[in-house]
């Protein structure tokens, strides 16, 4: 019997070996801002669990290294990730000195590298399985539920990032909902304005280059500057337009952040609407005209449905971009997860940075997966609907 090596498996096994033997698994710090001491897997876990985790990692790495069936690789990556997720929580309570509320235990580079290695394996398996869009959303839901259960069960409560959360539980959810409102609200506004503008640009050729150029230039203004530049005009509106201030329009805070995100969102929406409508096959339009459809019927019955996947791609770009950019709103008092990121940078408290960064990345990631799946569903349905 001969063994054959999997090329990606070699990379994964190398990362895992380095993570286990040369990198710390957890860091122990006397308080939240001092440098920490490193702990290896065997030092960070109670007696039986340390060797157990080592064994799981080694077996999973060997499964990855050799050419093995996909289902086995899937099992190996899921088991390894689950073991890591569970045991880092155990390490947290094990390393925390009795009755000490200042000590901070955080996952260290070895832990993150192991997570990275086995996520790579999982991503590879999922890519090769070529899952249907709804199955991909299913995987996302299962993963989110698993993480949610770990969070609710309290098994991670002794980790530093959750200690930061415990200190700020209220403001976390308030900033979180502000973040989502900013990202989704500006997207909705951009779609409401961008779609008609895109249709107009498609119909009126003279307008097209001008509008797209202006939107392109807006994109080049750095986000922090655009946020800052909107403070003055909105402040003016707030003081001079009756009723504006009571609507929440103010110079600093959410209003300039909302407007800036809206302006950045316009280009992808308008450009993709134009591209999508331009890509509608001539034959489809001719057929619709031949059937005696009115302009409006043709737009909503033919052009729009056919261009929909492309328009949706623009919306995906905007949503992921907005979730990321909304972090910058914190700089001008607009709130959002960025508040924790910038506070953390200011206090050199990295756990606080993570408290802001991790939910941002997770939301953006989930949004990307869901919208990608929806885009694939709509475009395949269209292909089935009109063969040829």
């Amino acid at each position: 019997m001969t063994f054959r090596f999997d090329k990606l498996g070699v990379v994964i096994a190398a990362i895992a070996a380095y993570a286990v033997f040369a990198a710390p698994f957890a860091t122990l710090r006397a308080n939240r801002i001092v440098p920490g001491e490193a702990r290896s897997i065997l030092e960070a876990l109670p007696q039986t669990l340390g060797p157990l985790l080592l064994a799981v990692v080694v077996v999973a790495a060997v499964v990855a290294l050799l050419k093995t069936p996909l289902i086995l690789r899937l099992a190996a990556s899921v088991v390894a990730l689950a073991a890591l997720a569970l045991l880092i929580g155990v390490a947290g309570s094990f390393l925390t000195p009795e009755g000490n509320s200042f000590a901070r235990i955080s996952p260290a580079s070895g832990f993150w590298l192991l997570i990275f290695a086995f996520t790579l394996l999982l991503a590879d398996v999922l890519t090769r399985l070529n899952l249907s869009p709804s199955a991909r959303i299913g995987v996302l839901v299962v993963a989110a539920a698993a993480i949610g259960m770990l969070l609710v069960s309290g098994s991670w409560n002794s980790l530093s990032i959750l200690k930061e959360y415990a200190n700020r539980a209220d403001s976390f959810w308030a900033e979180g909902s502000k973040h989502v409102t900013l990202a989704l609200g500006s997207l909705a506004a951009a779609v409401l304005v961008g779609l008609p503008l895109g249709i107009l640009c498609h119909r009126v050729e003279k307008l097209r280059a001008g509008v797209l150029n202006v939107l392109n230039i807006i994109q080049t203004i750095p986000s922090i500057a655009l946020f800052g530049l909107l403070i003055a005009p909105l402040g003016w509106v707030a003081t001079h337009v009756p009723g504006a201030a009571s609507l929440g329009i103010r110079g600093i805070g959410t209003a300039p952040a909302f407007v800036a995100l809206f302006l950045y969102s316009l280009l992808p929406v308008v450009a993709n609407t134009v591209v999508g409508l331009a890509g509608v096959p001539r034959a489809a339009n001719d057929a619709a005209r031949g059937m005696g459809m009115t302009e409006r019927q043709r737009l909503f019955g033919v052009e729009f449905p056919l261009a929909f996947p492309v328009i949706l791609t623009g919306i995906r770009i905007v949503l992921v971009q907005n979730i990321g950019l909304a972090t910058i709103a914190a700089l001008i008092g607009g709130g959002g997860f960025g508040v924790f990121v910038f506070q953390g940078v200011g206090q050199t408290a990295m756990d606080l940075v993570l408290l802001g960064a991790v939910p941002t990345v997770a939301t953006a990631f989930a949004a990307a997966i869901i919208l990608d799946a929806v885009i694939e569903m709509t475009s395949t349905r269209r292909r089935v609907a009109q063969p040829a």
Partner: protein, 254 residues
């Protein structure tokens, strides 16, 4: 090309004016003080006074240049690797990784790089490098996987080795698309570098953040406008190079 006259040379003239204006502003910001003065309150300085705008502009450009060159080398090398027979196993995975990578907001990358390398220019370079990789890699991949099959076949038929095909046929043919990726990456980096100043990197973001902190709109405006002007000019310049290479490729393959 369709119509000669004013319309044909107007864009070039505008660009030239922008270049002159930009150079005048960063070398002699004092000339523009009267224009910016109305934006300040209670006699605050109208021109950034905690460092030279020219030096900051050059540092900003240097940061973007280093990050882009590194990102280009790595992204193109990776794209070449996954499109060779030996690396083709990595192709689907690399596509998903690029998709995942794009969901990381630059601010998060920047903030998370700080514990690893400390404050200053390094975390900014890392964030710009990682963020710049994606568009270049994606475009290089598109370029290398959508080459006209008959051209590649012809090169193979002519007895070219794998290396010769890569250097003489595949890379030159996909050069315009790769350049498009570099252009995107540079424009994103120019704007993202300003955020680097939140972790104490010396870029034009320093001017904007100083303005935000002291409520001085003139600072925000001058920092933002310099970056925007740089982005527009570099975008245009790279587009021109792109069109030039595309034309050359068109002639050579025709």
């Amino acid at each position: 090309m369709k119509e000669a006259g004013v319309k044909a040379w107007l864009p070039s003239l505008l660009r030239l004016a922008l270049v002159v204006l930009l150079i005048a502003f960063v070398t002699n910001p004092g000339w523009f003080e009267p224009l910016l003065k109305p934006l300040t309150e209670s006699n605050a300085p109208a021109i950034y006074n905690q460092g030279s705008l020219l030096a900051l502009t050059l540092l900003h450009l240097r940061t973007v240049l280093i990050a882009t060159v590194a990102a280009t080398i790595v992204a193109v090398a990776l794209a070449i690797l996954v499109t060779r027979p030996a690396g083709v196993e990595f192709l689907p995975l690399s596509r998903s990784l690029v998709n995942i990578g794009q969901t990381f907001p630059p601010v998060a990358v920047l903030a998370l790089a700080v514990p690893a390398v400390g404050f200053g220019e390094k975390p900014t370079l890392i964030a710009l490098f990682l963020y710049g990789l994606l568009p270049i890699f994606e475009n290089a991949l598109t370029g290398l996987t959508t080459l006209p099959a008959n051209v590649v076949e012809a090169a193979r038929g002519a007895g070219m080795t794998g290396w010769q095909r890569l250097v003489k046929v595949e890379l030159p043919l996909s050069a315009p698309i790769i350049l498009g990726g570099i252009r995107l990456s540079v424009v994103i980096s120019l704007a993202t570098a300003t955020i680097g100043s939140t972790v104490a990197a010396r870029t034009l973001g320093e001017v904007i953040i100083a303005g935000l902190l002291s409520n001085n709109l003139a600072f925000v405006l001058q920092g933002g406008l310099i970056v925007a002007a740089l982005a527009v000019l570099i975008y245009d310049g790279l587009s021109a190079i792109e069109r030039y290479t595309a034309r050359r490729m068109g002639q050579e393959t025709a």
